[in-house]
Amino acid sequence: MKSLVSLYSSSIGKKIVMGLTGLFLCLFLVEHLAGNLLLFANDNGHLYEEYSRILVSNPIIRAIEIILFLSLAGHALSGVVLWIQNRRARPQKYKEFRLDENTELASRITMLGGSIVFLFLVVHLSSFFFPLRITGTPMTAYELVREKFSNPWFGLFYLVALVILGYHLKHGFQSAFQTFGLVNKRYKALLDAVAFFFWFLLPAGFGSIPVYFFFFVKNTASPLVLRTLEHGWPV
């Protein structure tokens, strides 16, 4: 225990926590997307409901859910601690600092991106997780998704948040491997390919859901959707 505390108190230790929790959250995203692809089954949500039921009733999944929330908290808190320490490490700023000439945008906006993703998570959980699992709703999960994404602004917010998540993962995924010391010139290409899946294909997969529901699931289209389809822009 003492050595764990001493590990966490070191700069590299906190980064290891960032990396481990970040990669665990990435793994969750893979599962989350795989499950959500059932929304495309075109069976009025039957398969998706079945999948949701299995998830909720499985005690192992419930336990993993707790680890997931702890990971999120650990990732966010360690990130904030590191960020504060980093600000303190340069009390006097440069008059001119051309960091943009040397670094990738994704690596410079981790805190901003992470904060926006966190806000997105608050909206996401309060839109789906809380009504479905805690406060209760007469709608099924599929119906709730259909209802929420009939609002183009809601869908647009998701798309913007997913682009930012993509940027966050573009830096974060490879950064975790660098922190674990698992980067090597020999298999860098392989790591880059896996990273591409996480920062591009994964957010794109999630992004396809609001787009699909807005444009292709029209059976409960709200008046706003109909007007948008007619004018080409929400009016």
Partner: protein, 246 residues
């Protein structure tokens, strides 16, 4: 060429600093940046003013003494060169050039562009050494080291400790410096006896000195005058984890 310099002037650690503007006329494009500052200082001394303090020694990019933030870049524009190797031909006639000291809590300003980098010395004292028996000189080929390993260790050992990595890092992290020092020993047989304690103690000292945390954005590698790779940071992380956990 004519250059306008905006240079950070600060009398000592305790006083507040400010930017002063100096007009440089007829600057030769073949001058090094430090020679241009020498000319400025001669002019200032002639006028009875205090010359601009800056660190310098070898002026051929191997000592690591010189170093300043020039137009927002550690060691100025371009790559793989210390400030002494920067030529004025990198600038255009009429340019306004901002010159600042390295900014980091762990590198307090002593005067003008001179910062106190003894934090690096204390990190080295914590573990940047090898045990060697006294006595006769051992045979040069007694310990065989494969060429690629020797090359990699030499790349790490080319670190001149100038502090550009800290200056260029948005977090003022000293990870590239520590990584280079830990790497050069970890790769070679002579570095094995203190391998574990070295990684632990140097990282501990680095944290104690108030450097920031590496966020893997690799500005350090881009600005390092010796082009030291961030792969050495991955090795440092590996060495630290192995020493701490196993």
């Amino acid at each position: 060429m004519n250059i306008t310099l905006k240079i950070w002037r600060q009398r000592n650690r305790e006083t507040e600093g400010r930017f002063e503007t100096y007009e440089m006329k007829d600057v030769s494009p073949d001058m090094s940046f430090l020679e241009m500052l020498d000319v400025l200082n001669i002019n200032l001394i002639k006028k009875g003013q205090d010359p601009v303090a800056f660190d310098h020694d070898c002026r051929e990019g191997i000592c690591g003494s010189c170093g300043m933030m020039i137009n927002g870049r550690a060691h100025g524009p371009g790559r793989g060169a210390a400030t002494c190797e920067l030529r004025m031909r990198k600038f255009q006639d009429g340019d306004v050039v901002t010159v600042e000291p390295w900014r980091a809590a762990a590198f307090p300003v002593i005067k003008d562009l001179v910062v106190d980098r003894s934090a690096f010395d204390r990190i080295m004292q914590a573990g940047g050494y090898v045990s060697a028996k006294t006595g006769g000189v051992p045979d040069g080929n007694a310990i065989l080291i494969p060429k690629p390993i020797a090359d990699e260790a030499m790349d790490a050992a080319s670190c001149i400790g100038c502090g550009a990595c800290v200056a260029a890092c948005p977090n003022s992290s000293a990870m590239l410096f520590v990584a280079a020092k830990v790497s050069q020993f970890a790769l070679l047989p002579q570095g094995q006896p203190e391998r574990k304690t070295r990684a632990l103690r140097m990282v501990e000292q680095m944290d104690k000195e108030g450097f920031g945390n590496c966020s893997n954005n690799y500005a350090c590698e881009a600005e390092c005058p010796k082009k030291i790779s961030v792969m050495h940071i991955a090795r440092l992380n590996r060495e630290f984890i192995k020493a701490k956990v196993f």
